[in-house]
């Protein structure tokens, strides 16, 4: 008994008309909607809005202009690195050395400014270059030598922090030349170089990941590296450049902290490696690679900051912030897993 919908084709389908493009008209709205709900960042956006509303209700000043500006300036440093960390997680890698690299870059730039008399225009790029060089070392270890990213960058985390303390001998580098303060004060109050760099990095990172061949290559490598290689993608080069980029961004973040506090603190960046990874993961970027967006990671970052600032504005002990961050991360990933299981169960 013949039934409909068995998916048989008729013979005339087989003569392939070359590149006939089917008209695309109807169904785009529902398609866009599915595409939207299917996006990982949507899963994180809803809790962000909810949490923000709860804190806004509890504390009237929470959503005031100055409070929001403070929050954005606070996430800016980590936010710069989050873009690189997102790229790395998408290809199935990660970088645990970002915090140490930030500290090292800050201290090196500070030494160049104070002891060698380098101008700001050279010393700050030099700090970024230090980050890029360490990123290159990570890239060589992971891509060429095949050392797992976790191990290679964990090792680099210790090495960079050690060199950081060796360079400054354990003491903060101060006072810095007046030029540094002047550089920080070019901008109107409420805006920092870090904030500008952060916004630039997020916008550029989002465009690169979604709209360029390079970005698509990252998803391909994260999904199945061998398939990417067979398709002619230079997987080693692409992966390596993600490590270099992340190193450079970490260096940039560290240098900008130094500019902001006007001291070359060796402790700059402590704990950032996990903060950045937590943000990215909360934002729906899979630790197993191939999935996630910069926008999602940004939302994850904001969730962490909103909870931290919110708890402060509600006079909760700062130690609870740390507990909260841990809880959120587990909840976010757990919710994502449930969502995926639900979707897969239906297909």
């Amino acid at each position: 008994m013949p039934t409909s919908g068995s998916g048989q084709t008729t013979e005339q389908d087989r003569g392939p008309p070359p590149h006939h493009v089917a008209p695309r008209a109807a169904g785009n709205w529902s398609g866009a909607l599915t595409r939207l709900t299917g996006r990982p960042e949507v899963g994180a956006l809803i809790p962000l809005v909810l949490i923000t509303l709860v804190f806004a209700a509890l504390s009237p000043t929470f959503l005031s202009g100055s409070s929001v500006a403070t929050m954005l300036n606070a996430v800016a440093f980590i936010g710069i690195i989050v873009v690189g960390q997102t790229f790395l997680l998408v290809i199935g890698g990660l970088d645990l050395s970002v915090g140490s690299v930030a500290g090292l870059a800050a201290v090196v730039a500070a030494v160049l400014l104070r002891d060698f008399g380098w101008p700001v225009g050279l010393a700050l790029p030099a700090g970024v270059a230090v980050g890029a060089v360490i990123g290159l070392a990570n890239a060589i270890l992971v891509v060429r030598c095949g050392i797992p990213a976790f191990i290679a960058t964990l090792g680099m985390m210790y090495i960079a922090r050690g060199i950081d303390y060796l360079v400054c001998n354990g003491y903060p580098i101060a006072p810095l030349p007046a030029e540094v303060r002047q550089f920080a004060e070019i901008l109107p109050s409420g805006v920092s170089w870090a904030l500008l760099a952060f916004i630039t990095a997020v916008v550029a990172g989002d465009l690169v990941l979604r709209r360029t061949v390079f970005g698509r290559s990252l998803y391909a490598i994260g999904g199945n590296e061998e398939v990417a290689r067979l398709a002619g993608i230079r997987t080693g080069l692409v992966k390596g450049s993600c490590y270099v980029l992340t190193g450079a961004l970490a260096g940039l973040a560290g240098v900008l902290v130094m500019v902001q506090v006007n001291v070359g603190q060796p402790e700059i960046g402590a704990g950032w490696e996990l903060d950045t990874i937590a943000s990215v993961v909360i934002g729906g970027v899979s630790l197993f690679g191939g999935v996630g967006t910069v926008l999602g990671a940004l939302i994850g970052l904001l969730i962490m900051q909103v909870v931290r600032s919110g708890l402060v504005s509600c006079d909760v002990s700062p130690h609870w912030q740390t507990v909260a961050v841990g809880l959120i991360m587990i909840l976010a990933v757990g919710a994502d897993l449930l969502r995926r299981r639900f979707r897969n169960g239906r297909t």
Partner: protein
Amino acid sequence: MPVETADALAMDDIGKSFGSVHALRGVSLTVRRGEIHALLGENGAGKSTLMRILDGVYPAGSYRGTVAIAGRQVALSSPHDARRAGIGYVPQEITVIDHLSVAENIFVGDLGWNWHIPRRLHARAVEFLAANRIDLDAAETVARLGPGQRHLLMIARALAANPTVLILDEPTASLVGDEVGNLFRLIRHLVAGGGCCIYISHRLHEVVELADRATVLRDGKVAARFDRGFTEDLLVEAMLGHRPQAVAAPATGVVGDEALRVERLTVPNPHRPERPLVEDLSFSVHRGEILGLAGLPGSGCCEAVDALYGRLPHTGAVAVAGHPVRLDDPRAARQAGLGLVTAERRRDGLLPNLSVAANISLACLPSVTRRGWMDRGREDALAAGYREQLSIRVPSLAASVLTLSGGNQQKVVLARALAAQPGVLFLNEPTRGVDIGAREEIHALLGVLASRGLALVVVSTDLPELLRLCHRFLVLVDGRMADAFPRAEASEARILRAAAARRMAPA
């Protein structure tokens, strides 16, 4: 109290839906003791769903209907339950533990909480393998086994639990020649002892040879039941719901210029330098020609193709369309105008995280950009073109590639290779695990591609497929060319004789 005369397995009026999709509707399946029962159907017909119910993956309560094993009604809520109730399921995918021995793999589900004593386990395994006439070395590390032996190991592991019903899902997909015969003897030995077997396969000639009865599913319902005396044609008709149309053999028409010339290709074996994987292989393919590479696994066919696509280090001279090329990596091969469709979709064919459109455009990303930016319109247009040309059945190009059936996934992999506009296309097992309908379509498409001037090199262990597709044949044995002949002289017997020839002689 189980009744001795009861059927070994009775699944009655099974229904299962996923959301609004009815995967199974009122399906009944009975398997008698001492019977080999074939379960057939195209991909998506409901075979896997039915077997997952039996294997406890879809737990009791998530479907309608009843399951009885040896006359006793059971409620299976996990694969562990299914094992204990007497279901032995051997899936299509290889699931063995590489770094353990054969013996440890066989009893891995049954090690208990006692001390693990390798010597005793080994003795037990040797005895078990001998009793079941399974040709495996209990002490061997699994990592050293070939795909055929691994499959045999999975069957041994299932048998070790003494199942009432043994389910074999495409057991011969990775077997060849002797191994198939050995497997059949093993199955017959099992059912002669009162066991029974559900045999799922796309290879209908095997089913006709082996099975006592057959149940054919189509669109989630039982389309036909056969007792003895069914033929391949009857089975195909029941699976498709209509008579299959004969596909015209590709025209042995105009053969154009030389597209690929390979001279003295040698692929060293990293583990055994004295026996290269491929040795001194020379051949050429012309535009418009389909060349078939045949041989048993280990004969070097796959390795030759992989080497020519830059996946394996090799020596020898290769010229594409008359120009000498170096094929150090896949990127170089792609740029030289070569394309490859890999044998294992899941392992190295698909990007599971991306959409159908992104899977198709992967090998020609620069062509779907506008001023350096990815252009979704161009990408969708490219994908839509191939969706039409290859009849890829997918509701939306933005859908995840994993939601497609095996046949459509294979077409996506093929579309990707074609989108890079190769002059020579290598295909390794182009229709493995693909249902009959899609298989016909792919075969027809390859014929069309050849007639348009593409040169094709097909590696397949499926001899009827090769015979049907190819204009010329090379048979490889132990990495060397053993025979070469045109279509007019080709037959299954000739390929098999050539492929088995030197294996018989002491190497």
